[in-house]
């Protein structure tokens, strides 16, 4: 890879896909325990917004467990199976073209949908245009110690690999890109490709029922591809009809 740095804007660093990452979520296995939500918040320094704001819809979790009433009429009371909802890393992402400052971008090397926090000016168009409603906005300075002095005691809980976001910035699931980078660097130093299952995201690692699987989409032998193939009759993409081409395959539950 060419790495010589010339004048700004003239360095031509060749970038190409290193791996295509995806996820399979089995709704039959999901128990709704929210371990993924907790693990994700720990791994990615997701702010705790407090009871009042969370109740008003300002929770900032990058992953949430959705469950809806299918029928509320007795005796046919029925709920939908749990559905963990996180950024689908759309190949054709509606959030990307609407950002006026290129803060919502597609990474070339991982083919992921990423948010550049320090570029974001907070127009919130991406959040509006996301059909999955998985973008969280920093409505207030939730992680500023000058405003929340109690956070001082929690210095060591922060993940040093992940930025702490300030107010007025949009954020979202990154597929734990810090872990992807770590694995990429390790594989590169050892002169090999990243193996499937070498690392996983925080939510997948925390899932006690193994409902969430993370891995390489471009490797036909990978676990996610095997799982999706074995359960082809149950596999679907969320909101397939609007053709965002998501990276996450759900396996329908309760069938």
């Amino acid at each position: 890879m060419a790495t010589e740095l010339g004048m700004p804007g003239t360095n031509q660093v060749e970038e190409g896909p290193v791996g295509v990452w995806g996820m399979v979520i089995d709704q039959d296995l999901c128990t709704g325990c929210q371990a993924c939500v907790a693990a994700c918040s720990m791994e990615n320094n997701v702010a705790v917004v407090g009871e009042e704001d969370a109740g008003y819809g300002r929770y900032m979790h990058w992953i949430r467990i959705e469950r809806l009433w299918e029928s509320t009429e007795y005796p046919k009371v029925k709920m939908t199976p749990f559905q963990p909802m996180l950024c689908q890393h759309c190949h054709n992402a509606p959030c990307e073209p609407v950002c006026p400052v290129y803060a919502s971008v597609h990474s070339l090397s991982q083919d992921l949908n990423l948010q550049v926090y320090n570029r974001c000016v907070g127009t919130r168009y991406c959040g509006n245009n996301c059909p999955y409603q998985v973008r969280s906005f920093n409505w207030l300075d939730y992680q500023d110690e000058r405003i929340h002095p109690e956070l001082v005691t929690l210095h060591n809980h922060m993940n040093p690999d992940v930025t702490v976001r300030r107010r007025g910035v949009m954020e979202k699931c990154t597929f734990c890109i810090q872990r992807i980078h770590k694995a990429e660097d390790k594989a590169k130093s050892e002169g090999r490709e990243i193996e499937d299952g070498e690392f996983t995201t925080a939510c997948a690692a925390a899932c006690p029922a193994n409902a969430i699987t993370f891995g390489r989409l471009d490797d036909p032998e990978s676990e996610i591809n095997q799982r999706a193939e074995a359960n082809q009759s149950r596999a679907y993409h969320a909101l397939e009809e609007i053709r965002t081409m998501p990276r996450i395959t759900y396996l329908k539950g309760g069938v």
Partner: protein
């Protein structure tokens, strides 16, 4: 060449009617008219200053202190939340851009179409355009999460060679609003030059003399100057019409280009333009009523015939708006898309349904029931009330499209009510700032385009054909 025209709102002047009720047939000597306008600028009652001080205090508190709080603490002080990422600030933006449309419509389209009754109130409407756009721009800045970085949205050369993304409808919007602000300010300025020269010649020293001297660009009223000015105004009048149509179409694309149900609609462009004219015309009626009842001598300039013209335009635009609204409503309803249906059901039957019904009453029932009668159209206070109600309706229309509409999205898990918080005082602040700017401008700028009125009065005359009086208009060009 003399052309027989029906230049006034009333097609024929019948025998018993006094033709002097029309401004164009009630000429005054030039000097007297100029003095009247100058006097109206300089006669200020103590109530005026009390109102100005009150408005300054409101603006300082809302757009000063409250905005400072909003910037320092974050958008959380506003009511926005998931899924209502956009709230009242963008409602205000669309609303004020809508208000600003009337000025261009009246002064450009009516000028191009040579509607004679436009003459005395073009300036008042153009000033609304410029000051309305100021509020729209401020509202966008209020909406931004990190407003101190707003220059990242401007195409400024920078060391990192990062350009703004012109794929984004927000960038089109920024370009369109900036273009419109520049064009409308220039278009406000051009017809103002002769009046500024008039004011310059009638001001004795002081900073105002310097102000007029600089802005009048040395206009002396020679034949060549008039010719150049007329050419420039003609070019601008024609050029600004497409700009006016494009700017609100592009504002509508902020919504129509999104994947949201209820927003992704092809009719939004013309629908928003007509909506803008609807609120703009109504706002002109309010402003004319206020000017007529507060400014000295304005009862001479702004008469029943002008309210009649505005009233007819309001009725016409209201009908056009109803047509587009039901297009926007019926076609998705017939299409039967599940999300569109949910969106419509939420608007009609949801907890905010009262807004939807109020909107329909204010936007359709009020103008259709009040404005069909000429006697009523010629009653200024009635027209002002209709104007206020129409503006309430149009504000609610934008409110239903933005914060009420985004409540319904494709993830029912996130559906949630939006309640404005700090938006309320800041919205009041934009209204106060608009009024304040307008009031201060009324002390400095002649709000009546005197030369246009004089030009019209010179061109109009009454001829007796048989027993009837026929209003004739000599061709000016």
């Amino acid at each position: 060449m003399a052309t027989v025209a029906q230049p006034l709102a009333s097609p024929d002047i019948d025998e018993h009617e006094d033709p002097r009720q029309f401004l164009m047939h009630d000429p005054l000597p030039r000097g007297q008219m100029n003095d009247m306008v100058m006097e109206s600028m300089h006669t200020t009652s103590p109530i005026f200053w009390v109102v100005v001080i009150a408005l300054v205090l409101i603006v300082l508190f809302t757009l000063g202190y409250e905005w400072y709080v909003l910037i320092m603490q974050g958008q959380g002080r506003a009511g926005v939340t998931r899924p209502d990422y956009w709230g009242v600030f963008l409602v205000n933006t669309v609303f004020w851009i809508g208000i600003s449309h009337a000025g261009t419509f009246i002064s450009a389209i009516l000028r191009v179409l040579k509607v004679e009754s436009r003459r005395p109130f073009t300036r008042a409407a153009e000033l609304m355009t410029t000051f309305g756009l100021v509020q729209a721009g401020l509202s966008i800045f209020m909406h931004l999460g990190r407003v101190w970085l707003v220059y990242w949205m401007f195409p400024l050369p920078n060391q990192r060679t990062i350009w703004p993304d012109f794929h984004s409808p927000l960038m089109w919007d920024l370009m369109a609003i900036t273009t419109y602000l520049l064009c409308s300010t220039m278009y406000l300025f051009l017809p103002l030059i002769p009046d500024l020269a008039m004011a310059r010649d009638r001001t004795q020293g002081g900073w105002l003399k310097h102000f007029y001297k600089i802005l009048a660009l040395g206009f002396r009223g020679t034949e060549g100057e008039w010719k150049n000015l007329t050419t420039a105004m003609n070019i601008f009048a024609f050029a600004i019409i497409p700009v006016m149509f494009s700017v609100h179409t592009i504002v509508s694309w902020d919504f129509a280009m999104a994947t949201r149900p209820g927003w992704n609609s092809t009719v939004f462009g013309p629908y928003f333009v007509v909506g803008a004219l609807h609120s703009g015309m109504a706002a002109v009626a309010i402003v004319l009523f206020l000017l007529r009842s507060t400014m000295l001598h304005y009862k001479y300039f702004i008469r029943a015939e002008h309210f009649n013209t505005i009233g007819m335009l309001m009725l016409l635009v209201s009908m056009a708006w109803a047509y587009f609204y039901f297009n926007d409503y019926l076609v998705p309803w017939y299409g039967g898309d599940v999300w569109d249906k949910l969106f419509q059901e939420y608007a009609e039957k949801g907890p905010k349904a009262y807004l939807w019904y109020t909107m329909l009453i204010c936007n359709i029932a009020v103008p259709w029931l009040l404005l069909w009668n000429k006697k009523w159209r010629e009653t200024p206070w009635l027209l002002a009330i209709a104007g206020i109600l129409i503006n309430v309706g149009m504000y609610l229309e934008r409110y239903i499209i933005i914060p009420v509409g985004v409540t319904i999205n494709r993830m029912p898990f996130t559906w949630r009510q939006y309640e404005p918080r700090i938006e309320i005082p800041m919205t009041i602040g934009t209204f106060a700032l608009f009024l304040l700017l307008y009031m201060l401008a009324s002390r400095v700028i002649p709000l009546i385009p005197v030369w246009e009125v004089q030009e019209g009065q010179e061109a109009h005359m009454l001829r007796k054909v048989g027993k009837a009086h026929v209003s004739t208009l000599s061709d000016l060009e």
